[in-house]
Amino acid sequence: MATHQPLPDQPPPISQRGWLRWLREHLFSTWYNSVLTVVIGYWLISTFVPLINWAFIQAVFTGDGADACNPDGACWVFVEQRLGFFIYGFYPAEFRWRPNLVFALFALSVVPQFLPLPTTIRKWLAIFGITGLPLAAYFLIAGGHFGLESVPTSRWGGLMLTLILAYVGILAALPIGILLALGRRSEMPVIRGICVVFIEFWRAVPLITILFMASVMLPLFLPDGVTFDKLLRALVGITLFQSAYMAEVVRGGLQAIPRGQYEAAEALGLGYWRRMQLIILPQALKIVIPGIANTVISLFKDTTLVLIIGLFDLLGAVKSTLSDPAWSNVMAEGYLFVAFCFWVFCFGMSRYSHRLEKQLETGHRN
């Protein structure tokens, strides 16, 4: 008896599988998508091939001076030669081990947060990072105690100064911002009013005017004889400015917590501060992690503005070197180097905030 023998399955047509299918679906699905792909592909190749050629292939990375450079390629020798200045500014070379030690302590408290270590160790290292580290950094970098020679803030600079401004700014702006946000949600009209005026004022004016104010008007506000360090003035300006933004971010989180949580906390008989600390803030801050990360990133970028009031942060240090006659035509290299440094930090922070958000995700919103 003859049985029906089905033919073996044919493979799908070549255009419906493998990379050809991917190309069809993602690059050439319609006629205008094909045109776009070709135009953009041409633009990318014509821009990036010469750029990569300039930045890497023809570039000179090490050497003694501007003479070592190739006119057709990037002159990274400039960065290599001036790296010390870009990192430490005018900080005396023989004391550079002090900021280096601070960098190491910073790495010690931050890097383990990414490693699979027991939570207790990570917690204590984090607590060290926000309490012991700033103190240690102050005594090490500023000196003047424990037999360390004092280094005035006017000699601080470069990446070191950028990181100090950003770190202290974040450490100060977050708690002040939380307090302001709680104040704005307070039931006492006077406290609420003060917080609203404070927040809205700082948010309405540009940071640059605040820095100007800090450098021009602060001496007028203070009693005779009291002077403030220029760096401290910039720090106060940046902190006040960013704490107002932080407050608005945190307020968003506070408003997103359902009323039941506030009422349940009250029903447990907790006082105001314990209610906030144990029940409301942990939930509210978790919701606004992306907002906090954005504020931190913008604070980091805003530290560059201090060069306008005469401090040499990373950008200021590079910019001041560009006018050196020994190095002509390294403008693009200098700015690209700074851009790369800032980009790495900011992009890293935004990735980390995504990760943190996923880690703390409990599966239910609110």
Binding site: H26, L27, S29, N33, L36, T37, I40, G41, L44, E187, M188, P189, V190, I191, I194, E200, F201, R203, A204, V205, P206, L207, I208, T209, F212, M213, V216, M217, P219, L220, F221, L222, P223, D224, I297, K301, D302, T304, L305, L307, I308, L315, K319, L322, M331, A332, Y335, V338, A339, F342, W343, C346, F347, S350
Partner: protein, 395 residues
Amino acid sequence: MTTDPRPLRPGRPKPWNDPRVRSVVFQILAIAGVAWVGYTLFHNTVSNMESRGISTGFGFLNETAGFGIIMSLIPYNETMSYGQTFLVGLMNTLLVSGLGILLATIVGFVVGIARLSSNWLVAKVALAYIEVFRNIPLLLQIFFWYFAVLGALPGPRQAVNVGDIAFMSNRGIVLPKPVFEPGAWVMGTGLVIALATIVVLAIWARRRQAATGRIFPVLPIAVVLIPGLPLLGYLLTGGPVSWDVPSLGGFNFRGGITAIPELGALLLALTLYTASFIAEIVRSGIVSVDKGQTEAALALGLPARRVLRLVVIPQALRVIIPPLTSQYLNLTKNSSLAVAIGYPDLVNVFMGTTLNQTGQAVEIVAMTMAVYLTISLAISVLMNLYNRAVALKER
């Protein structure tokens, strides 16, 4: 059975435990604290200014400024007053902010939509653009465009020549300037008539569509009419507009309109930086519209283009507009970075040069901050009105 001798209603708590008493005390303390800080600052400032011999009051606004400004939208020269420098700076700030907002919106919307493109390459290029530009400080971008790109352009003698009418050099971009001769009013009238016609037509078309469901193509008519009528006027009156074409004279260009490189660099940086944020806002706004809305609209038989215009975009705008306004505000505030490259904006001209010359820090800082406060508050008020208008109306 024993009865509890204590009363059922508890007595008043001790004053230091009574929340009402506490709240009053805290508020009085807060007012006292603020008043004390305010008084101390005021007292210190007055005594400091006396000891330094700084004059007070706004009389300086009528004094002669005595310095030149490289770019001004209103008539200005050195013999005019500080009040005029304030206005020049304000106009320049508004100019760069206005242009920046316009351009950043266009670029931001294009990139935000490109980010959602079905074309893999387009989406990735848009993503790369966003991630690069928003993670680099704006000040650095301004320096880059000003010093490394525009500063690297050739001098006026070797300027990049675009068809002998426009030139790009390190002194800026020079464009031909239209000179209106008698009779040009016919063109202006043509433009006004065209715009009025289109507005009336659009209202009529919308009413007719609501009543009958038939669609009237307003857009193509507008595209023809708005440039068409002024052109007709131009031809009928025999060309009453001539062009002041720039020409190289000595070491710089004469005639035409010059856009100074400071303006170009600031505008480029502000546009590209803010657009990267706007793109993300636009993308998240479009993504926030429920997929069911698109599917329902397609099921009704609407073509894809109309689905976007009539269903998705109006709902996305509700999510997009609030953060978009705050980006506009940021751009306006960021335009004050002009001071770093010498574009004569409000902060540069007034808080910089004028402050240095007069020394009247308190008045000048207060005036500058008042300008930004006014802009901010005005935009917030408009924003709240808009929010009320588009908020979901639950019936």
